[in-house]
């Protein structure tokens, strides 16, 4: 077997992320903390470079006596869930999105109370209400979900919470399953909210606990930014014991802290900046930064500052270098960073995505190298980190292309895209499994931008295209996507109808297939598949004033859909068609859940109402 030479330079004891509950804020006022900062930073460095290095542990997860349970092999997502449980989270809300989806599913399986919301904005608003009401709350979403939730996020930052609120932003550098690779570290700065970034599953667990402590101590929402590789890689996690029971939720009136009219928001903004200054000082003094001493090797004069998964790649690519891995990446522990920088001859910042950390160091007057711009695209890995270290900017080897995904055999979307292709429609598309309708043999999608955009984009095209083209425009949207952000598009269609009318086609396959078959308000089942209220798309469209509303149980090529579309496209009216046929992969499970619900109803007719 080959040898990848990784010296056993484990984390010296005591450098693991401190996750003990934070003390009373009054005990460490701002000024004191700053005074402690230089000492603590120096202490951190001393511990990392001195004689204690001899005391190497072969298992870096064995560090703290507070850790009790046996280690488990968990993905980053799976590690956030038990942390939420141990942090006594009372409610988890979110909207599915790779790579975040498994967090709430795992939390539900562990017995936590978890709910899918129609979209991320609503999920965050529900979470905020719960936190105002005194319940610790976890809100999860993928990176672009935070765009949807940005409105409540920015002003929630001004409020004072009653209990911890942690927002998970699961970023997708490299776009394994997303339409962009935006770097949500910008949100921490823009909204002025603390951000934690785990490098592996143990840290996903630890930093989730810490996030609740920070959130509660400073009464501020905290963002846990976790990336695809961390979400979906399994590494060892040693969970800790559950924290003490938190106070029972109850309403406490605090109007000035929660009603953001200008009169109250102005002082609130000052409060927010003051909180951040305190958190920065705390981060320097006691934050979850870790220093890994340089092992034997030739990189002795090199220091690396890294965040998230870049830290473990760095450890492997440059085992001889000293490494400062920052856990609380906003507000930064600039004192710790400065002290570390002073001890290095060459200092390199390693971060996935945008040069956020590098620019922050330069702005703070800390000279450091960043990565060449070509490494801003895609994920980092050990090979790329080696290239960055060597200053290699030659073109990277292109890995051979694998087989692209395609719609399953028997998928209900197939027949729809055959019809749209054969009718030469101009298709304003949307996001879901059905986006694969863009690929051959269909090539039947012309635009796809973000969830819900199909309707607005379709209307825009209709307004400006010459009539013969305008009449070919159809907006195609999935059922989960329609609930997420299609309703306002329909309102627009009714309110500002194009001269040629318009046709919206909802592909209702009874599930959120793309992200692994989650329930949504149109399925009539909760996250844990129990029966609940169900939204009728056709009823909704009629109530909103759409002129023609049709439902087709779409079965292969029997011509029904084609004939209907031909008719509707010829009318200068607004139309909405629900093409209904379950996702073939989800169908057996849907039948199972439906049967379970009927059985329950028969056993106890009132059960649907009671729980």
């Amino acid at each position: 077997m080959s040898t990848v030479n990784i010296p056993v330079t484990s984390d010296p004891e005591g450098l693991t992320c401190p996750t003990s509950p934070i003390g009373d804020p009054a005990a460490s006022p701002h000024e004191n903390v700053i005074a402690q900062t230089a000492r603590a930073a120096a202490d951190l460095l001393r511990r990392s470079s001195g004689a204690e290095n001899a005391r190497l542990s072969s298992d870096r997860h064995l560090a703290s006596p507070a850790m009790s349970a046996q280690p488990q092999l968990l993905s980053g997502d799976e590690a956030v869930a038990p942390a939420a449980l141990h942090a006594r989270v009372r409610l988890g809300t979110g909207y599915p999105g790779t790579p975040s989806t498994e967090i709430l599913e795992a939390f539900d399986k562990l017995g936590g109370r978890a709910q899918w919301s129609p979209n991320e904005k609503v999920a965050l608003e529900v979470g905020l209400g719960a936190a105002f009401g005194g319940a610790r709350t976890l809100v999860t979403m993928k990176h672009i979900g935070l765009n949807v939730a940005a409105d409540p996020l920015f002003t929630a930052a001004y409020t004072d919470l009653e209990a911890g609120l942690v927002v998970v932003s699961a970023d997708d550098p490299g776009m394994a399953s997303s339409q962009n690779e935006q770097d949500n570290r910008h949100y921490a700065r823009a909204a002025a909210l603390p951000m934690l970034e785990p490098m592996d599953s143990q840290q996903a667990y630890d930093l989730t606990l810490l996030a609740f402590d920070i959130s509660e101590r400073w009464r501020i929402p905290v963002i846990l930014r976790i990336t695809t590789r961390v979400c979906h890689s399994k590494t060892l996690v040693r969970p800790r014991a559950s924290q003490a029971e938190t106070p029972t939720p109850g309403f406490r009136r605090d109007i000035q802290a929660r009603v953001m009219i200008p009169a109250y928001a102005k002082p609130a903004h000052h409060r927010l900046r003051h909180k951040l200054a305190e958190i920065a000082a705390w981060n320097d003094a006691e934050g979850p930064s870790r220093v890994f001493p340089g092992g034997p090797g030739s990189d002795g004069d090199l220091g690396i500052i890294a965040t998230g998964i870049a830290a473990v790649h760095a450890r492997e690519a440059a085992p001889g270098a000293r490494l400062l891995a920052i856990g609380l990446t906003y507000p930064l522990p600039l004192g710790t960073i400065r002290a570390f920088a002073d001890t290095c001859e060459r200092l390199l910042v390693l971060e996935e995505g945008d040069p956020v950390l590098h620019q922050a160091l330069l702005a703070a007057g800390i000279p450091a190298e960043g990565k060449p711009d070509m490494y801003r695209f895609g994920e980092l890995n050990v090979a790329r980190v080696r290239r960055i270290l060597a200053g290699d900017q030659t073109p990277e080897p292109v890995p051979p292309k694998g087989k692209p995904p395609e719609l399953c055999q028997g998928c209900s979307h197939r027949g729809v895209f055959e019809v749209l292709r054969d009718m030469d429609c101009i298709v304003a598309g949307d996001i879901g499994c059905y986006t694969l309708g863009v690929l051959p043999p269909f090539s039947a999608m012309d635009t796809c931008v973000c969830m819900g955009a199909s309707i607005g984009v379709g209307l825009g095209l209709r307004h400006v295209l010459p009539e013969d083209q305008a009449r070919r425009v159809v907006s195609v949207i999935g059922d989960s996507t329609f609930v997420h952000s299609g309703l306002t598009g329909v309102a627009e269609m009714v309110y500002n109808p194009p001269a040629t009318g318009h046709v919206v086609l909802i592909l209702d396959n009874g599930t959120t297939a793309m992200t692994g078959q989650q329930e949504h308000p149109g399925t009539g089942r909760t996250l844990s598949h129990d029966p609940t209220g169900k939204i009728s798309f056709e009823g909704l469209a009629r109530a909103m004033g759409v002129q023609n509303v049709h439902v087709v149980a779409f079965n292969e090529a029997d011509g029904t859909l084609e004939a209907l579309l031909k008719d509707l496209l010829a009318r200068p009216e607004t139309s909405l068609v629900v093409a209904r046929q379950p996702c073939v992969l989800a169908a057996p499970k849907i039948r199972f859940h439906e049967k379970a619900a009927t059985d329950r109803l028969q056993a106890c007719p009132s059960s649907l109402v009671d729980d």
């Binding site: 030479n5 990784i6 298992d59 399953s177 979906h232 890995p399």
Partner: protein, 159 residues
């Protein structure tokens, strides 16, 4: 032991690549190693290429196997061999689907476990941990067929 063993399992969505790497990672974990396992999912249901990295040793840092450093590559579909070959180090072992004679498996879906059996003959993980990992990751009604497939692959792997 300070070296890290690098393994890659590859195939097409629906073939059980991720299940195989789960079993593999768990077997190494049960044998007392530090283990990391990594893959990207999301599209895996829809028949596209899927691959999963598993690394184990005293201490593993990055969860991803660097290209050209895999000790063994297990491939479940013939069409995916060339796509993935680049992950192997010089002299690394390729375990392909052709190792198992057509018709040899009672349950065709257990090809993933059969190839794990072949892989197991190249690794220092005691058999008991493999079997425990198989049982922990599969429904009970599948245990017997998969144990048989594993044994068949393990015998075939000793080439």
């Amino acid at each position: 032991m300070s070296k890290v063993i690098n393994l890659v399992v590859a195939g097409l969505g629906g073939q059980g690549v991720l299940k195989a790497s789960d079993i593999l990672a768990e077997a190494a974990f049960r044998a007392g190693f530090d283990v990391k396992k990594s893959e990207l999912h999301g599209m895996s249901q829809r028949g596209g290429s899927v691959s999963s990295d598993v690394r184990f040793g005293d201490q593993v840092w990055s969860p991803m196997v660097p290209a050209g450093e895999a000790d063994c590559l297990v491939v479940l579909d013939e069409t995916q061999v060339e796509v993935n070959r680049g992950v192997l180090r010089p002299g690394g072992v390729l375990i392909g689907p052709d190792l198992i004679a057509p018709g040899a498996l009672k349950n065709k879906k257990s090809l993933n476990v059969a190839l794990l059996g072949a892989l197991s003959s190249h690794l220092e993980i005691p058999e008991e941990h493999w079997l425990a990992a198989i049982r922990a990751n599969l429904a009970e009604k599948l245990h017997k067929a998969n144990e048989q497939s594993f044994a068949l692959g393990r015998a075939a792997g000793r080439f």
